[in-house]
């Protein structure tokens, strides 16, 4: 079972890779969406007439991008679903091999987190087909995360260390993995909003040129907020459950363990983003930079702390 799980991981990465190639072709050769065309026409007028540009009205495109390359985009979505099924297979076989829930060490945790991210992406896509163009960046992130997990973090399936053997593993770690997956995937619309916003403001240097074919900045910004607003209470719940478990297992609910400290830092950082987003006087770009910074603290918590800091959460099992 453990060997099957490992080979399924390779197939999962392969499926996401194939999906990414499809998205890439659609992205590179597909027509620009109606939204992007509107903006481009306004800009040409502005240059030609030497008059101050009219405010560019960006309408939300509700239909998915059409054209010859659209079939490849749909194939990309189908391959993402195949990858997700294989991804679930990795976790099921791993859980059967170890005889427990498959998120007991860092390798398994990262696979669970990326699974949540992939599910979240497909749910968002089902509601807004126009987001298909950012599938390229989502699958790229999934491939990088899973590849790193498979090559660097991989550990053999084994029973849990005694300290983790509690029903709180199911509650606390499931909540933490769900929130982490959502918050990590929320970075994609956040970063793409900053790119697209720069593009709509007329910037044409490197990172902003990516924005040419992206969905409207306004749509990306609202999406960023919604995913964060959904994930943040789950993250809060995960920290509270962790504190309750810590009280029963270690005798104190908060002991400034490195993982606890960085969870708190991430919590404050995401709270700062949500607060900035809710404050009308703070610009949306400024607020989104808070989200990007908060995402950085999540990465530190997930990767750096497990390798560098020694604490009670050192269950990574990475040698």
């Amino acid at each position: 079972m453990a060997a099957l799980s490992d080979s399924l991981l390779a197939w999962t990465i392969f499926a996401y890779l194939a999906a990414m190639v499809c998205y890439l072709i659609e992205y590179a050769f597909g027509p620009r969406g109606a939204v992007a065309r509107t903006a481009a026409r306004e800009l040409v007028t502005a240059v030609g007439e030497a008059l101050p540009a009219q405010p560019v009205v960006i309408e939300e495109a509700t239909a998915p991008p059409a054209g010859r390359t659209a079939a490849l985009g749909r194939l990309g979505v189908a391959l993402t679903v195949v990858g997700l099924a294989l991804h679930a297979g990795v976790m099921v076989t791993r859980g059967l091999a170890a005889g427990r829930v498959p998120w007991g060490n860092m390798y398994e945790f990262v696979i669970a987190v990326s699974f949540v991210g992939a599910v979240a992406w497909l749910v968002l896509l089902a509601g807004r087909p126009t987001l298909r163009l950012i599938g390229l960046f989502v699958t790229l992130a999934l491939i990088l995360i899973l590849g790193f997990a498979g090559v660097i973090l991989h550990t053999d399936a084994a029973p849990l260390v005694p300290a983790l053997d509690s029903y709180w593993l199911k509650i606390h770690v499931t909540a933490a993995a769900t929130a982490s997956g959502l918050l990590l995937i929320a970075f994609v619309p956040a970063a793409l909003f900053l790119v697209r916003n720069g593009y709509e403001a007329g910037k044409r240097t490197f990172p902003y040129t990516i924005g040419e074919k992206l969905p409207a900045a306004d749509l990306l910004e609202r999406l960023t907020f919604r995913v964060h607003a959904f994930a943040f209470p789950i993250w809060t719940f995960a920290i509270i459950c962790g504190a309750i478990w810590a009280e029963s297992a270690w005798g104190r609910y908060w002991g400034w363990d490195p993982k606890e400290v960085w969870s708190f830092i991430s919590w404050v950082a995401y709270a700062a983003y949500l607060h900035a987003r809710a404050t009308p006087s703070v610009k949306r770009t400024t607020a989104t930079w808070f989200a990007v910074a908060a995402w950085g603290t999540m990465l530190v918590n997930l990767y750096v702390i497990n390798f560098v800091a020694v604490g009670l959460h050192s269950y990574a099992g990475v040698k």
């Binding site: 943040f232 809710a278 009308p280």
Partner: protein, 99 residues
């Protein structure tokens, strides 16, 4: 290399924290408040009643949503105010603007 024996030891941690319940209650309250404030749609409506000639009154309504627009809801609200007024037999002019 010589084996020099072992020394038995034990670490005992005794702790009494009377604040635990308060923290638990606070954390629960925080979570509930957080979800309410993140999911609730906040919008404000102002009403100003000013007298006009002939003993009638003018009701002016103003609305402001924290995010997005609630023009439809506001129009319905303004209509309700006008309808309720007519029912009471004191027709008043209702003017409103939502944002």
């Amino acid at each position: 290399v010589q084996f020099v024996g072992t020394k038995q030891w034990i670490t005992v941690s005794v702790r009494h924290d009377p604040g635990e319940r308060i923290v638990l209650f606070g954390a629960g309250a925080l979570l509930i408040g957080l979800m309410v404030s993140l999911t609730g749609r906040r919008r404000r409506v102002w009403a100003r009643v000013s007298p006009t000639d002939g003993g009638r009154s003018l009701i002016s309504l103003g609305g402001l949503a924290r995010s997005g627009s609630f023009a439809d809801e506001f129009d319905r609200l303004a209509g309700l105010v006008g309808a309720a007024d007519e029912k009471a037999g004191r027709p008043m002019a209702v003017a409103g603007k939502g944002s």
